[in-house]
């Protein structure tokens, strides 16, 4: 069985007036169909660039090298027109900051149905709208039929993130890439969203690449873990293995630093 996503030696570099800086170096990983991968690492370690490289959505000035295969298809050499058909339909992406990722000028309904119609040229406007309402219901947005005509700013942070997910789902993708989908949210809301993603994966069997800097989140959601530092993959493996037997010192330090809610309490003020 071929891997759903197979990334080999991916390198992303920026060409700046001061020369070339590699922000992702020789990253390789594999994701089986229906499996989930967590990418962790601190801010600036190249997590987002890796995911954007997969989508071919790197910012101007960035170049990528290496191979990215989606269910056997090589994406790096795909003509733009074909790549467009991959985006949204086969691989969908959820971004971190849902407010800035939704266009403030259009209703959420339009933005969802736009995603729906992008890959169904025959779909009528009405069908797309119905699909949008359905998608919103699927992500548990109350009164979806009404709220489909609202603008992004009229939604709360958690709701917006749901809208983003609904949008990602409307193409029925095989692979979902979530780039820090809960960083901006409260713990309680974060939990709802994570539960929602889990529920959806259960329903659709889509693969998931989850990017975050919160190791605890990864430990709850991912089958495999990829730890990045300075653009390099320093450690990868099954979640249990990485968390219980970290090999790289960096991974260890990270795990050390994560505050834990269940740790035995140390004395007041920390008697260290």
């Amino acid at each position: 069985m071929t891997a759903l996503l197979d990334v080999r030696d991916l390198t992303v570099a920026f060409e700046t007036p001061r020369g070339r800086t590699e922000v992702v170096r020789d990253v390789s990983f594999e994701l089986a169909p229906g499996a989930s991968l967590g990418i962790v690492g601190e801010s600036g370690s190249g997590k987002s660039m890796t995911s954007l490289a997969v989508m071919d959505l790197l910012p101007p000035g960035a170049t990528r090298r290496g191979s990215i295969r989606l269910a056997g298809t090589e994406l790096t050499t795909l003509p733009p027109r074909e790549m467009r058909k991959v985006r949204g339909a086969r691989v969908a992406m959820i971004f971190q900051d849902p407010l800035s990722c939704l266009n403030p000028y259009y209703t959420v309904g339009l933005q969802i149905s736009e995603a729906y119609r992008a890959h169904r040229p025959r779909a009528t406007r009405r069908e797309a709208r119905r699909a949008a309402v359905e998608a919103m219901e699927r992500v548990h947005i109350p009164h979806a039929a009404e709220r489909v005509d609202h603008y992004p700013h009229q939604f709360s942070g958690g709701m917006r993130q749901r809208v983003m997910i609904a949008m990602a789902l409307s193409g029925e993708p095989e692979l979902l890439i979530a780039d820090e989908p809960t960083t901006a949210l409260d713990v309680t809301v974060q939990k709802q969203i994570l539960d929602l993603i889990a529920e959806i994966r259960r329903d659709t069997g889509a693969g998931l690449v989850m990017i975050t800097h919160d190791l605890a989140v990864v430990s709850e959601i991912a089958d495999d873990v990829l730890v990045m530092q300075h653009g390099d993959v320093v450690e990868q493996g099954g979640a249990e293995q990485v968390f219980s037997r970290p090999r790289h010192p960096y991974t260890r330090r990270l795990l050390e630093a994560v505050p834990r809610i269940d740790d035995p309490l140390v004395g007041p003020g920390g008697a260290r």
Binding site: V187, T188, A216, E220, L254, L255, P259, G269, G270
Partner: protein, 276 residues
């Protein structure tokens, strides 16, 4: 520091006679000397507003604040300056809370200058000493905030708070914006300083795991009210209020057995290294 029945209302009045919005509703707390009180709760629950009232940055609509037994709810000029030298604030975003156009030296001596006090030992020496205390390279005293990393910048903020030798430091999400490892360093610094100087902290956070590490007392806020408060153990181990339970339940956790296994491994390795 002790606060009783704090209320803050926003808006309202005016021509339209809108009903005011109660951001903080009857909040009371007490911070014993040398201890930390953590204020937790979801976004918008009124934590910052409470902190700002405690720091005398907004006037409370009602309620009373005492500092070492003295009523400090309403202060004017001189008394306010004295208050400022006893209560300081560390803000959430290190970069936004440091004036990007001022050097470290200007920033950390500002409280003294603004309060019209002499800088003991001259600006340069004073700054160097402070920077050393918070673990920054004293040679960087002429740099601007943007030449520092987030963690370093937050240390500058802490240094500024310490410049006037306060007895209470209010930390409004002082570590929330930082990466885990940096966060850990800053927390360590705060704890060390507390031990050294008998500081009291009003520590605001939404991350319960962080709170658990630093606070002796915890108050949980929701929609402007304190729904539960008490010693750390009590709140975390035996939460009474529904909301506190929901909050605790939502915290993502690394499975305990993985952690245990890792610790065991690390310990083993350390032993091995020591032996070697």
């Amino acid at each position: 520091m002790r606060a009783t029945g704090l209320v803050k209302e926003f808006g309202g009045g005016g021509l339209r006679r809108r009903r005011p919005f109660r951001a903080v509703d009857d909040v009371s707390f007490a911070i014993p000397r040398g201890q930390t009180l953590a204020l937790v709760g979801e976004s918008g629950s009124g934590k910052s507003t409470t902190a700002r009232m405690a720091a005398h940055l907004v006037e409370p609509t009602a309620g009373r604040i005492e500092l070492e037994g003295e009523d400090v709810t309403r202060l004017r000029a001189e008394a306010l300056a004295r208050f400022r030298s006893r209560v300081q604030v560390v803000f959430q975003d290190p970069f936004s809370s440091l004036n990007p156009r001022h050097s470290v030296e200007q920033i950390v001596t500002a409280p003294l200058r603004y309060q019209g006090r002499r800088v003991p030992g001259g600006e340069r020496a004073f700054t160097r000493a402070l920077m050393e205390r918070v673990g920054l390279d004293p040679d960087h005293s002429r740099r601007l905030p943007r030449q520092f990393s987030g963690g370093q910048a937050q240390r500058i903020g802490i240094a500024r708070a310490l410049a006037v030798d306060p007895s209470v430091v209010i930390c409004d999400e002082a570590v929330s914006a930082l990466d885990v490892s940096v966060q850990a360093q800053v927390i360590e610094l705060l704890v060390r300083l507390q031990a050294e100087q008998q500081l009291s902290y009003l520590f605001i956070a939404h991350d319960l795991a962080v709170v658990r590490q630093i606070a002796q007392q915890v108050a949980v806020m929701s929609q402007g009210r304190v729904v539960e408060s008490g010693p750390r153990e009590q709140v975390f181990d035996a939460p009474q209020h529904e909301y506190t339970r929901a909050l605790l339940g939502a915290v993502p956790r690394i499975p305990a057995e993985w952690d245990a296994a890792r610790r065991a491994m690390v310990e083993q390795q350390t032993v091995q290294e020591e032996m070697a």
